[in-house]
Assembly symmetry: C2
Homo-oligomer: 449 residues x 2
């Protein structure tokens, strides 16, 4: 009973914090001159797209001074007064959950522990991330909470291991460790780990709780949020999986300090996507701040992650199971998945393939007469700033594209639906109603027959 009360009071203090406190949270090198005024509670993005529901988006942050009573009650708040996280809520009724974003969050055990169910935890990670952060996560899970036991399973790193054989290692470990339905899985890593751990949690004993701790930009801005989980099949990406929501997503931006440059840039492909499909203002901010992002400026990164999560949370709240709107988050992904499958999983990073795929989708949109050429140029320019590819590898042919795109999840009764830009910057459509010649022309413009 005591711990429930504690958790409630902490949640309230996070949600009710003021704008003044939000500003106190800025990292040491503020880039506030780059940031648009905070006005997300009345978002400017395509009002027509959100007219059929009113999502709850909370973009509040709190300082540790927000409530002295919650500090007294909380045994985990350290005397050094750690920065409180920004919180973005994903509003899905009784499956709602918070995304915590901030620096040093893995040093604040109460954030993780309030979402752990049962007495046993299985951390799923890979051989790149484990040496860097596994001990820290175990410490965060167990500090002041000796009744929890933590097991871990370390998978090989890479998209080429996002398969059933590797997934079985998670089940093996869970069963050998005698985990029961009241356990919690924790995904510690990038998108591959999050997708696999989430699907394992969905299927183990027909469903156990799980927590996402994404450690790459790609996972922090996109894949850890929204409950899409799954694995690849040799014939196509993410063809086996489940919609399964986590208990929370914990984004400790400090984990980006160890991220290779190529992985960093890969994540920006998804950040750029949000701007193109629904948030022109964010795209314009990116055009001005891409150099700061590439230089890992902490406040620029924190803002890009927060704003991306807000966009993702809003779309997922409106269309969890991808009946329509959510599909727009896949701009460039149908082309991109074909590149990843065609060239071999793990050869190109997901964001690299999405970047080239986005250029192809934008090219096709222009051929259809749906956008003007200034958007085509701006897309190429920002991707080049991010050092991302703007065309597919030469080895992927038109026929390889056609073959992989035919098994894409967005095919319905034989018709391939695509996300294409249409109208001013920040607007897109999800449609199967387009001239097939434009698709053919795009494929032939970018690759060999």
């Amino acid at each position: 009973m005591a711990s429930s009360t504690l958790s409630l009071s902490l949640s309230l203090s996070l949600s009710l914090s003021s704008n003044k406190q939000q500003q106190q949270q800025q990292p040491p090198t503020p880039l506030s001159s780059f940031l648009p005024k905070p006005k997300f509670l009345h978002p400017p993005f395509n009002p027509k797209l959100i007219s059929f529901s009113t999502p709850k988006i909370i973009c509040a942050s709190s300082s540790s001074s927000s409530s002295s009573s919650s500090q007294v009650m909380d045994p985990f708040v350290s005397p050094t007064q750690p920065l409180a996280p920004t919180v973005v809520d994903v509003d899905l009724g009784d499956r709602s959950y918070p995304i915590y974003i901030g620096s040093g969050l893995l040093n604040q055990p109460h954030l993780l522990q309030r979402h752990v169910h049962g007495k046993k935890v299985l951390v799923v990670t890979n051989n790149t991330v484990a040496p860097l952060y596994l001990d820290k996560v175990v410490h965060s899970l167990t500090t002041g909470n000796q009744s929890v036991s933590v097991e871990s399973v370390i998978l090989p790193d890479g998209e080429q291991y996002k398969d059933m054989d590797t997934l079985m290692k998670v089940f093996d470990k869970a069963i050998e460790s005698r985990l029961d339905r009241r356990c919690t899985f924790v995904a510690l890593g990038g998108g591959v780990i999050g997708d696999m751990c989430g699907f394992a949690a969905a299927a183990f004993l027909r469903g156990v709780n799980f927590i996402q701790i994404p450690t790459t930009v790609m996972a922090q801005v996109d894949s850890s949020v929204g409950g899409k989980t799954g694995i690849n099949h040799r014939l196509g990406k993410n063809l086996i999986g489940a919609f399964y929501q986590p208990q929370c997503v914990l984004v400790d931006t400090d984990t980006l300090n160890t991220l290779p440059d190529r992985e960093l840039a890969s994540g920006f492909a998804e950040v750029i996507k949000y701007g193109l499909i629904r948030d022109a203002e964010f795209f314009e901010w990116q055009e001005k701040n891409m150099q700061a992002l590439m230089a890992r400026d902490p406040s620029a990164l924190a803002y890009a992650i927060k704003r991306s999560c807000e966009n993702k949370a809003e779309v997922v709240s409106l269309d969890e199971k991808e009946s329509g709107l959510r599909a727009t988050l896949n701009l460039g992904h149908t082309f991109g998945h074909a590149i990843e499958t065609g060239v071999g999983y793990g050869q190109w990073l997901h964001g690299e393939a999405v970047a080239a795929g986005t250029v192809m989708a934008v090219d096709m949109s222009y051929r259809l007469g749906w956008i003007d050429d200034s958007i085509v140029k701006r897309v190429r320019d920002i991707l080049k700033q991010a050092k991302l590819p703007t065309s597919p590898p030469e080895t992927v042919t038109v026929n390889m594209f056609r073959s992989v795109m035919a098994v894409d999840k967005k095919v319905a009764d034989g018709l391939l639906r695509l996300i294409l830009l249409k109208g001013p910057l920040g607007n897109c459509v999800f449609t199967g109603d387009y001239d097939r010649k434009a698709l053919d022309d795009t494929l032939h413009a970018f690759c060999k027959s």
Copy 2:
């Protein structure tokens, strides 16, 4: 639009039929003298268990003469006026679905076709059932409906193939056939096929529609209803899966004509279970009619299937995800799963293991002083009548039981909860609050250390 209207009018005609019509549906050799008066709409079973909700249980049947207008509108109604099915509804809000029960239902294409989504169907079956019924099912799916294309995948028959390698063959076939999200999977076979096809449908493209056509007593009275799907792990049964509901369950009782005696008896273990846990009147009916069931008397079989489905539907409607009540359907299953895993999958049929497990659970209940010895005797007697085992095989030791039971899905925070009988016939509890000595004594009474 036309087909939607048609489907609605047919559904209504099924639900609104009269008792007189129900009697017309009786098979040629009526056993009406054995049957209790129909009063299931006001069920006598443990009212305390259903006090927190009011499930909708419809046990209506119709004759083809119930509505001439629906006959005129329906191109599939044959001139020989086939018997209309009994319908039991599983009430789960927007995931509700009907169970159709009757003779010759595979000859009534409209029953299946009204539940097929999209233009592509994948029938999942095994090498025993395919030669008997696959052509018939394909015919039923395509008669008068040329726009649907049907693929099939034939798996090896047996519990030992309920594993990930075999499941992957379903995904391979689905992807190679370019099935999309608007396809329908059809499970044609016993419990193993239903569980595997259901899990494949849950995970393929993160979820597609599916239909259950159970062809064994075990599947018709239990496993096809309620949405539990999954596969085995070498260390335990059904440890990987999903709760995923079908669009409908179609029980054509004619398929039992080809069922081997041993499979027939195996299914009766689950029928007996319903009587013991919640339906004393049904158990008493079984005591009088087990010989008729073993002799495959059509009306006795039809009644046992219907009443079992009504019990299952009621429990599933009240507790879909097994928070509590639904676990009672697993009487004897924790012991039984240990037998199946310990002796090797496929050596004992599921119902044989459940039968022996039920005797062990009843023995333990008696040791705890929760039931009197007359119930112990009646359970042994009815299982013997059904030619089912009343003790585990000699090769399964006390330690094997303990090891497998430790990973049972009903373990919570390390405590094994069991379904045990308590009180008069027809009452049970799901509890971890029992004297461990009674469990030890039962294990030692039935097997070697």
